[in-house]
Amino acid sequence: MKWKRLVRNKPMMIGGGLIALLFALMATSLFYTPYGPNEMNTEMRLAPPQADYWWGTDNFGRDIFSRIMEGAQTAFLIGFSSVAIGLSFGLAVGALAGYAGGWLDELLMRVIDAKLAFPGILLAIMLVTVFGPGLGNTIVALGVMSIPAFARIARGGFIQYKEFTFVKAAKARGAGPLRIVFLHILPNVSSPLIVTASLRFSGAILAEAGLSYLGLGVQPPDPSWGRMLSEAQPFIANAPWYVLITGAVITAMVLGFNLLGDGIRDLYDNKG
């Protein structure tokens, strides 16, 4: 019965499928790529997709498929790490606000809301400007961008469940705030947290693409889909596949995590 519901959950199946595929590409690239990602074949510059080069070559004659595979490593790394940062700090801030209440709650939530004033990747751009571009700083910047979403859920859960008997009982038994958060409150907000994690994952992929396109994100030699797109832009007229394929892969990854998030939400919603 449970399995049937899972199979019927189309967003989940499609999203999960896309991600599994991309994950497989990434995992394979750790051991094997058809060509070296930086291996140039000067005779085959901007070659269209063909038997030898499935997705064609770029302006240096490098195999686009191999480079996409390697770029998947960066994409997954950035997604996972930035979500991990956003999740852990968001939980801490949200739980603190919810637990403390009063002026501290007010202040923290004001700061969290003020983030809305820095739309899109502006906040990440600010941080990267100050700390400099590169893989590590991009991860931190995108992680910071995700904190508010998680903080709000954690705080909401805290406020919602604070008054429940089982939480009060735990408090009365002398359980510390950390114990209460982890054992009593987190399990109750786990579903929105998982959904948000999935959506923030795709948000991070999109933001990284934008940042790297602007030259503010991942720097060479680290591979990046966003930078590949900016490298492809000048050749949009004579090698459109370069732009199309690279963007389609980014879209597929974002789509995958968005659908996965929606699917998980459906799953939890239908349960209740």
């Binding site: 809305l116 004033a117 739309p119 400007t129 934008g210 949009i236 879209t251 789509l255």
Partner: protein
């Protein structure tokens, strides 16, 4: 009246908070802002000189206070690179970004609202499937990649629109519109997806409401029930989305302006990162943030106009 005073006070405090965050990020986080401007291995003499011009010898709190005081008086400081008042430079660029945002929001609503209504009215299997495919794609596509595709289709293949460049409205309105159309469309697509999805869900919820049954029982024609009763009730939730959309559009324009080489704020922002023009950057970020805060404030006020129930609540 008391309500408006409280709302204005909240607006003021948010603006203040935003300015503190901006200042912290650009002036305190880096340790030595002068080093950001000149690079880590800069000449110590030059560094000392710059620290003086930027007033870095004073404590941070004092610097913040004078920045806010000057900004309130209209003095937003000097650009390090252009040696001109920041306010003048921003004023030159703002119209481009503003036109882009307005045009893209217009497209979003013009396309998104009728489609949302259409889909909600004939909620069949195929339209619903197409809709969810479109909205999911619209939300997943990086807007600058979409911009590439639009360039590829409309500029490279059909040659209907220029690929790059911009003509000011005052010089050539037709050309200005032409140069802004593709970027606006690229920016609008995610918004369209959001509006369709949200409006459809809201409308479907509203269709089931008791007051709709009443309106039908009054013998009103279906069209009037939809436009006079249902649509207006759906406006309030949709308005929330519009507020967020404007902010998203401003954020997205940073990247899209660079794709189309439009001389707007986003373009200036990236250029000044390259030239490490810290005062200009700091002010520009504050500018964008304050605009977003003000827009949210206006949306909040609009609720009250539309929904009498909120009007009464304090």
């Amino acid at each position: 009246m008391r309500f408006y005073i409280r709302k204005l006070a909240a607006l003021g405090s948010t603006v203040l908070l935003v300015s503190v965050i901006t200042f912290l990020v650009f002036q305190v986080l880096p340790g030595d802002p002068a080093e950001i401007v000149l690079g880590v291995d800069a000449d110590p003499h030059q560094l000392a000189e710059l620290r003086k011009t930027m007033g870095l010898d004073r404590p941070a709190a004092e610097r913040y206070w004078s920045w806010v005081k000057d900004a309130a008086a209209g003095d937003l400081g000097q650009s390090l690179r252009y040696h001109r008042p920041v306010a003048d430079i921003v004023a030159e660029r703002l119209p481009v970004t503003a036109s882009l945002a307005i045009l893209s929001l217009g497209l979003t609503l013009l396309i998104g609202v009728p489609l949302g209504v259409y889909i909600a009215r004939r909620d069949g299997k195929l339209p619903a499937l197409l809709l969810s495919a479109f909205t999911q794609l619209g939300l997943a596509v990086p807007s600058f990649w979409l911009a590439f595709i639009l360039i590829l289709v409309f500029s490279v293949t059909f040659k209907w629109f220029p690929t790059y460049g911009y003509a000011p409205w005052s010089e050539n309105p037709a050309k200005a519109l032409q140069s802004l159309f593709l970027p606006s469309l690229a920016l609008a697509v995610p918004g369209i997806a959001v509006v369709i999805r949200y409006l459809r869900n809201t409308l479907l919820d509203q269709f089931r409401m008791d007051y709709v049954r009443t309106a039908r029982s009054k013998g009103l024609r279906e069209r009037i029930v939809l436009y006079r009763h249902i649509l207006r009730n759906s406006l309030v939730p949709v308005l929330t989305i519009v507020g967020l959309l404007i902010a998203d559009t401003l954020g997205g324009s940073i990247v899209v302006e660079n794709v189309f080489a439009l001389p707007g704020l986003g373009n200036l922002l990236i250029t000044s990162i390259g030239t490490r023009d810290l005062p200009l950057l700091q002010t520009m970020v504050l500018y964008i943030a304050v605009i977003v805060v003000c827009i949210n404030f206006i949306v909040d006020m609009l609720y009250r106009v539309i929904d009498p129930r909120i009007r009464l609540k304090r």
